[in-house]
Subunit: 140 residues, 2 copies
Amino acid sequence: MQEITGLELSPKKVEYLKFLFKKGGLVRTTDISSQLQVDPSTSTKTIADLAGTGLVEHIPYRGVRLTEKGQLYAEFLVNRHNILSLMLSHYGLSSEEACAETARFESFVSKAAVDKICSSMGHPQTGVCGKIRHISCGIP
Amino acid sequence: MQEITGLELSPKKVEYLKFLFKKGGLVRTTDISSQLQVDPSTSTKTIADLAGTGLVEHIPYRGVRLTEKGQLYAEFLVNRHNILSLMLSHYGLSSEEACAETARFESFVSKAAVDKICSSMGHPQTGVCGKIRHISCGIP
DNA sequence: CATTAATTTTGGCCATATACCAATTTTATG
DNA sequence: CATAAAATTGGTATATGGCCAAAATTAATG
């Protein structure tokens, strides 16, 4: 039984979660808005949306942090990115190209597909965009 | 110099163009709406949008057809689909899975990336979703 | 050929996702 | 505590995609 489809979040929300994961801990609205290049008011609103999903906890005027559920989900998101970009890098795309390309379409690739790709590649430990952990495949 | 980025059309519009390409000739609004499972009024409006791009010609109450430009573009779209789904099929996805998966993200994959993947695979002639032609790579 | 049926289009309206600006509120700082 | 900085709220905007009801057009049938 699969509880995560990988298609739960919109592209921008995926960016938010990946950033929160990489940053870690309590992250300020301004950090997010400058990183994602949007107005602070935009990030505030998106954060409110995300808080509604239970993936993040928002402490007004203080910051946002991933919940436990969000932590797990974000780990999947980062893994998906790393696996897909590693795959593309096997087809003549440079690391930078693979990373940028993946960023555009990753949010539309299912966990089921990513799991198969990951298995097929032999659960690699390192991608072109960062380390790959395989908790969601049951590999620590 | 590359005139097509592959990112010009929204996902739904890509579906329209691929369908028009596969159907060929003058296609009725009803054909489209039943194929894409949308209300006829929705397809009428999307067709109007597409007509604005010069990719299709709309003859009111008669049907829609690809322009010459649209024909070339749609051929790229179908090729992109076939190349990406073929790629996925190399990672343990069945033809059906690869096809369905690709359908979700293909509109966010650039022509530049597709060209590299295509070259890297040796310009295959057959995919899991259909024949692949390589006119846009300069291979007839 | 005239009426009816089917198809298509229009107009109105709605939802989601993103985004900005201006104004306000809260927190931080000197 | 006064002011600056950060964050939020409220308003508004665009793009995409969608539906329904009504009107227009074309097709079909007696």
